[in-house]
Symmetry: C2
């Protein structure tokens, strides 16, 4: 069901082929501020981020990449627009990947310099087409935007292929989700390079989560996509959490708790919303793939959440703890969370 | 591209056929508490909720439905399990729709009583199959869960069709997103009844948004789905906002602002996250379909957000206001939001 794609490597992370779909993010620090950038990368990598991208707007930013690289453990991608010298400097600084559209570099000889060096050092290049920054002549053509994105990407691909370079990854982003879905679906049938999925300018937290989940989720459901970045106007740590939640929701990755909880209804006798939040908060950093259910009522709860490894169901002034649908313990409501923690800890021990 | 489905009516809301995809929610109040239930329905309806469902666990709850119905403006659906008398009472109380699985009612003569009355009053019935509460004999069978959901739904459908009743709507929910996607995709090809989409027990806010957006969004992208409910362990108002955001992200409905904002990067010189939040907050209740962009930099911002009707882009200690990609005004950073409000108000006047 998954689209077949070529495998490339960004540092020690495989992308494409049979590799798991990886989660990326991008720093929003000033890259030249090495300390702040390294601090953010560590925070993102602690949250699970597998590949990090940084903006390289000028020479000074390019020149500190080696210093940053030394202090971090995940592969780093330099995001470069227009200037071939920045790309060369970034590669010489030891970065693991480039995001660069060769058609925007200008003179052929300069493109060749970058591509030759990238080939030598086995540095993949992501062609990152964005609906908002399409080439003028393409943007003004009649026709469907998704087709234009594909056309633009193929133009960049051809430049690289003509230079016998094929460590390629492609993204076709738009803030319009159907455009982005259509574009990726089209290119998925034309080339076999791995695809980096994202919805651009997705917006503030809740809207951004929704737009990214719809766009990225739809494509992944169709078997398309090898690495993803959720882009949010928020602390990028949220991008990483969201990326993994999208992958987890489609059973493509496992990471930490899978929490299921019912929406509460007229049957619910306990403060379920808070209980679910407390469980989520308390066990955020558990790293075993356990499915935990927090359910409103003991009548339907344990049955509806049979698939959960462990769960809580509310009653009247009391609650139940269940495992795989079977009630194992009845406790007073005020001790519910505590008793749950106890049973949960026992369960976690079984995972060792 | 949209799947063809029969049209039914819940009160004055059309579902299926060429009707827009509608947004539903469910009260989490005790239905017997009429005041609290009516208050929540009004809050949900103010947020845009188009159809509301309430749990009807007992006779007392059924008997207050007429009283609730009188005080609200959106159609109401009674959620009933097992007891045919509650269904009859709910219909007599004037509700607009039922959620009830006829196979769980028991004696044939009792099913007939409910269906006869529903037919007489033209009250549609949603068959709501849920992975957690599958019939025992089905649950224990070998085979794929999504196929079992479909099988269960078709059994209930047959009961209604045999009684010559076809005001049917179907849901096939699971907390496992791929199961839910597969089940809906299968049944979409078998029957032409409208489909109610949802991921059940989706969880707390962020996880729930992601799971629901992936599941519901994927199906809608494929043209499947006539009405949706996002189910969250949260204030149900969030379900309504999320429902519309999913539909807006796929250009299936328009409602209020379409906010796009970039994820901030090393080039960003202003506090974009806060600026975007302020714009979102301030204009939350605008009900014109305006696309607003909040972008980090003046270099790429206006160009990348050309499709936006109006936007802000940050600079160094100053910012820009642009319309359709053209900068129309440059202002000091501290006056940026104010100047934006002024230009935005002018723009809104054009929508009258």
């Amino acid at each position: 069901m998954k689209r077949e794609s070529k495998k490339i490597r960004i540092g020690n992370v495989e992308i494409g082929g049979n590799a798991p779909v990886s989660v990326q993010s991008m720093c929003n620090t000033d890259t030249r501020d090495v300390q702040a950038t390294v601090r953010q990368i560590k925070e993102l990598s602690d949250a699970g981020c597998e590949i990090i991208r940084v903006a390289v707007p000028d020479k000074e930013a390019a020149q500190v990449l080696g210093d940053i690289k030394k202090q971090i453990k995940i592969p780093i991608i330099a995001d470069i627009h227009f200037d071939w010298r920045l790309a060369v400097e970034a590669i010489n600084q030891g970065i693991d990947g480039l995001r660069l559209n060769p058609g925007n570099i200008g003179k052929r000889e300069n493109i060749e310099k970058v591509v030759k060096l990238a080939k030598e050092k086995e540095i993949p290049i992501r062609i990152g087409v964005n609906a908002g920054s399409l080439e003028k002549e393409l943007a003004q053509e009649e026709g469907d935007l998704s087709q234009k994105l594909v056309k633009s990407a193929l133009k960049h691909v051809k430049i690289l292929e003509d230079l016998d370079f094929n460590l390629i990854k492609i993204s076709l982003k738009s803030s319009d989700v159907p455009v982005m879905i259509d574009a990726y679906r089209q290119i998925a049938d034309i080339v076999d390079y791995p695809l980096h999925l994202g919805v651009t300018e997705a917006g503030t937290l809740k809207r951004g989560l929704i737009k990214s989940s719809v766009g990225i989720g739809t494509l992944l459901s169709l078997g398309i996509g090898d690495t993803i970045r959720v882009s949010l106007t928020e602390n990028p740590v949220e991008e990483v959490y969201a990326g993994f939640e999208i992958l987890k929701s489609l059973n493509l990755r496992q990471k930490g708790l899978n929490l299921i909880s019912c929406p509460t209804c007229g049957r619910c006798q306990i403060d379920l919303i808070n209980l679910a939040k407390q469980v989520e908060e308390k066990f955020r950093n558990i790293d075993k793939p356990v499915t935990v259910a927090v359910m409103g009522c003991a009548v339907n709860g344990p049955g509806e959440a049979k698939s959960a490894d462990i769960g809580i169901a509310g009653g009247i002034n009391e609650g139940y703890i269940f495992k795989k649908g079977e009630i194992i313990r009845k406790v007073n409501e005020k001790n519910l969370l505590l008793a749950f923690e106890e049973e949960f800890s026992k369960l976690l021990l079984e995972y060792h």
